[in-house]
């Protein structure tokens, strides 16, 4: 990046909101994936106007702009793989409005998920998706990836809560789509086109979110199974029972072992553990639904089914579940976290297939995930310094994707394509769909300024 360009960026953003210092460039060269690439400069815009001016300059000078939330993405979404400018939206972190009457919250993209949760709590409201990274990730990132979480089976994903957006397009124009109404069909659904578009179509500068009343009561149960397929069938049974649990999570043997090594929960190291939560307006309602879930657990040969006796006990179980990713990450020098989703009937075959693939390629794969919506997270643990192991890991990942697609599934349920899965896009999309997506990208970002190289759409 030329010195004059940097000077112009400083003029747009102010000295304090721009840096080309090595320490910042190194910080912004990675996210939570294995990808690395250093940007030429980093900026912290504080308004939509600044974002517009930066994007206009980028068009003039031809440098890439990669928007970034908290950098918790797992597919390399915010790694500036072609250099240029990283735009960290973390300083646009104001909650602009919470309207209980309208049931909406209006926020800037840099608001941390947990901070919105905290602000909604006194009103008895929530923004349900609840991604595991909620303490750190930002709402702009949630929109960019269409983030899901443990509550997906009952409450859906980020997409289901985004009512409107303000977006800076790839040519610097400002776009407002959607509104505060719960339903609208007055144009093409641009709002949902931007949700999950990984920052390649526009940079979101304001978000109108639908919020929901918090359930007043919950019940939590865990069930352990010696046989993986029994657990898979129990999941199908629960989902067909007429009760929709607010959470239904699965953890496999390797995951349980890792949790035990890092906590004092002393979980049994069996083939699979299921963790379910039901919720409602009264304890009776939550309990009644949980009884129905437990019936299904009992019908599929569990070794043990255990209700959480207290809120503290339930909290311990949730802590265990949310710790899966970090505790597993510590087991070996490197890991890849996958995010396969399969149709509901295929959860058990997919789990079995993951075990077979691990054995066949002699790699260590720990699995956990959101069984209630078919979204599984096989985490592959390895040592990147060992070229032979790395090769086996790549072969295993290829087989995982192929199996998922063969079972009618999809490569990623909530983490996104980014760089990690870009080579696999055409496993799922025919050339017609790929061409349409490329053309839509051109409509929004004619000069390919925004987050280039992502999603496999620009060659």
């Amino acid at each position: 990046m030329k010195t004059e360009t940097k000077d112009r960026l400083r003029a747009i953003l102010g000295e304090a909101n721009f840096s080309d210092q090595l320490i910042d460039l190194v910080s912004y060269s990675s996210d939570a994936s294995e990808h690395l690439h250093r940007p030429d400069a980093a900026a912290w815009p504080t308004s939509a106007e600044q974002v517009q001016a930066v994007v206009r300059l980028a068009n003039e000078e031809g440098f890439p702009v990669t928007a970034r939330g908290a950098g918790t993405g797992l597919s390399g979404l915010s790694v500036p793989s072609r250099g240029g400018l990283v735009l960290d939206l973390g300083r646009m972190d104001r909650i602009l409005d919470i309207s209980i009457g309208d049931r909406v919250a209006v926020v800037q993209p840099g608001v941390v998920y947990a901070d919105l949760a905290k602000a909604l709590e006194p009103h008895g409201y929530m923004f349900p998706p609840d991604p595991a990274s909620g303490k750190a990730c930002t709402l702009g990132g949630n929109v960019g990836t269409n983030a899901g979480g443990v509550k997906g089976a009952k409450y859906g994903t980020t997409r289901d809560y985004v009512l409107g957006l303000t977006v800076v397009l790839g040519d610097g124009r400002l776009l407002r789509v959607g509104n505060r109404a719960m339903k609208s069909v007055s144009g093409f659904d641009l709002t949902r086109l931007f949700v999950g578009s990984e920052g390649v179509l526009g940079i979101v500068t304001e978000i109108i979110l639908k919020i929901s009343p918090q359930p007043l009561a919950t019940a939590t149960t865990l069930a352990i199974f010696d046989d993986l397929e029994d657990a898979g069938r129990a999941v199908s049974g629960v989902m067909a029972s007429g009760v929709i649990p607010s959470v239904l999570e699965i953890m496999g043997r390797e995951t349980l072992r890792a949790i035990n090594q890092n906590t004092d929960l002393a979980l049994p190291e069996v083939d699979a553990m299921l963790l379910a939560e039901t919720d409602g307006c009264t304890q009776g309602e939550a309990d009644y639904q949980m009884e129905r879930v437990v019936e299904q657990f009992r019908a599929h040969n569990p070794r043990e089914v255990k209700r959480a006796e207290s809120a503290a006990q339930a909290a311990g179980l949730w802590k265990a579940r949310k710790s899966c990713y970090p505790v597993l990450a510590r087991l070996r020098p490197n890991f890849m976290l996958e995010d396969i989703t399969v149709p509901m009937s295929q959860v058990a075959p997919m789990l079995r297939g993951i075990q077979d693939i691990a054995a066949r390629h002699r790699v260590q794969i720990a699995t956990f995930g959101h069984a209630g919506d078919g979204n599984l997270h096989p985490q592959i643990l390895y040592d990147a310094a060992d070229p032979a192991e790395k090769e086996r890991v790549e072969a295993a990942i290829h087989d995982l994707f192929a199996l998922a697609v063969e079972l009618g599934g999809t490569l990623t349920g909530e983490h996104g394509i980014g760089l990690s899965k870009a080579p696999y896009m055409d496993l799922e999309h025919n050339p017609v769909a790929m061409e349409l997506m490329r053309s839509i990208k051109k409509v929004c970002d004619p000069n390919n300024i925004l987050n280039p190289g992502k999603m496999g759409l620009d060659g």
Partner: protein, 462 residues
């Protein structure tokens, strides 16, 4: 259309699926609006290959194509306003699969919504979207319009159930989006871009829908209010309780009066009625209906009735279901609007609609889906009096202005079609419109698919 084009179309469609018969052209000239535009030819869809051939022929001769489901749309989406070919999708009416363990249905676009609901129910499953026209509208039309309905408060709209689509692009190529997965973030959300695009981007020939387990039990409660504010407070209290009602319907005093005079149900005189439906396991429904009764009473409901069984529930629903025909008690002509406003502005929008009525010398009954802020505003008038017609059209402009000033939207579920084209520019950001035109061009560079719908041409922008 010249004879070469007609010849090519007949061949592309297959002679048995092609008609220029005056009777057919007349039948397909109209939809749920009062407008009539006879097409030049009618093609009955047979399958993707045939549709693809028809689209290619139409592209070659620059002939407009308008896909049509049951023609129950209320904004002119299925009207062949530029002539050309009317593509009747109703013959593609197979339910190809109901996969119980995946909770997924695969259906052709001509399947009647009510038939899919029944087929799902027979397997203990549930297709929640329930537009008022479910007995005759088609799934293809529902997808094209992103149809809503009575159960949207708890279950959402058609968009929330479409997992994947198979479609023919205007140049004849086949497009596949999505699959049978509840979650997927692979690429842009083309599926939901097609949902609600009113047949302007692609011709859908197969739909993958999410199903849910069939709720075991239901409950229905209604309440009458002496003034609007109390009714609004009831809705507010209900939504804030954490209970997710299936339906939360609203009718104003004009509606109640019309229904009473039409159907003689013995309704008490009131300024508003709220009707609530709940579903779930019996135990849950029992607890919740007690809570709802209390909430409706505390807001000043008098009387509040809880249906003791299904027959009584049907009785409570009768007033709401009679609304369609009953509204004509207030006049032989109706301009039917479909605005949605933020939940906190519901009562204000109703009040303003009534004021517009007073100002224009017309009766404007309002009913609708209070739980999601979607109001059906009916501007009643007598088309025999030109002055009333002109006042009615001005009233619609007034109503849209009020709706937009409250942060609302012109259409919650009926779509833009042709009838709202002139108003879209007032709601939509100009950049958004440009983007939508750009997307339309990506899908349909020649502009042959359902032209002059959904997006106003640049020259009519205010």
């Amino acid at each position: 259309m010249n004879s070469a084009a007609l010849q090519a179309l007949r061949q592309a469609a297959g002679p048995d699926y092609f008609s220029q018969d005056a009777g057919d052209r007349l039948i397909y000239a109209g939809d749920g609006t009062c407008f009539r535009y006879p097409p030049e030819a009618v093609v009955r869809a047979r399958g993707p290959e045939q549709i693809s051939r028809v689209m290619a022929a139409c592209g070659k001769y620059h002939v407009p194509v308008v896909p049509r489901g049951a023609g129950s749309g209320l904004t002119g989406g299925a009207l062949p306003v530029a002539g050309g070919v009317l593509l009747d999708m109703a013959g593609l009416n197979r339910i190809k699969a109901i996969r119980k363990r995946d909770q997924v249905a695969v259906a052709e676009p001509g399947v009647v919504t009510g038939e899919l609901q029944a087929a799902a129910e027979a397997q203990g499953l549930f297709y929640p979207p329930d537009p008022a026209s479910a007995a005759f509208c088609t799934l293809g039309g529902n997808v094209a319009e992103n149809a809503g309905g009575m159960r949207a408060v708890k279950y959402g709209v058609t968009r929330d159930y479409v997992l994947g689509l198979r479609a023919v692009l205007p140049d004849g190529r086949l497009l596949k989006t999505g699959g049978a997965n509840i979650k997927s973030v692979v690429g842009y959300d083309l599926t939901r871009l097609l949902v609600g695009s009113e047949g302007t981007l692609a011709v859908i020939y197969e739909i993958i829908l999410r199903l849910l387990p069939l709720p075991e039990d239901r409950a229905t409660i209604n309440a009458f209010y002496a003034d609007l504010d109390k009714a609004a407070r009831a809705v507010e209290g209900l939504l804030a309780s954490g209970i997710r009602p299936v339906a939360c319907e609203f009718m104003d005093g004009y509606c109640l009066k019309a229904v009473e005079s039409y159907a003689k149900l013995g309704l008490p005189p009131a300024a508003a009625m709220i009707l609530v439906d709940l579903d779930g396991p019996p135990e849950v429904v029992r607890r919740q209906s007690g809570q709802v009764e209390t909430i409706l009473q505390q807001a000043g409901g008098e009387p509040v009735r809880v249906a003791g069984d299904r027959a009584e529930a049907e009785g409570l629903w009768r007033a709401r279901r009679a609304m369609g025909p009953a509204v004509y008690q207030h006049g032989p002509g109706k301009l039917n609007e479909d605005v949605a406003v933020p939940l906190g502005s519901l009562a204000e929008m109703v009040r303003r609609a009534h004021l517009v009525g007073e100002k224009r010398g017309l009766v404007i009954p309002v009913f609708g889906h209070a739980g999601d802020g979607n109001l059906h505003i009916n501007v009643m008038h007598d088309p025999a009096y030109p002055e009333q017609v002109s006042q009615a059209h001005q009233a619609v402009s007034d109503l849209f202005a009020h709706c937009l000033s409250l942060g609302g939207t012109l259409s919650g579920e009926h779509g833009v079609g042709t009838t709202k084209l002139g108003f879209v520019g007032a709601e939509m950001d100009p950049v958004g419109l440009e983007l939508m035109r750009g997307i339309k061009k990506v899908f349909d560079p020649a502009g042959i698919l359902n032209p002059h719908k959904k997006l106003p041409p640049p020259e009519v922008l205010p």
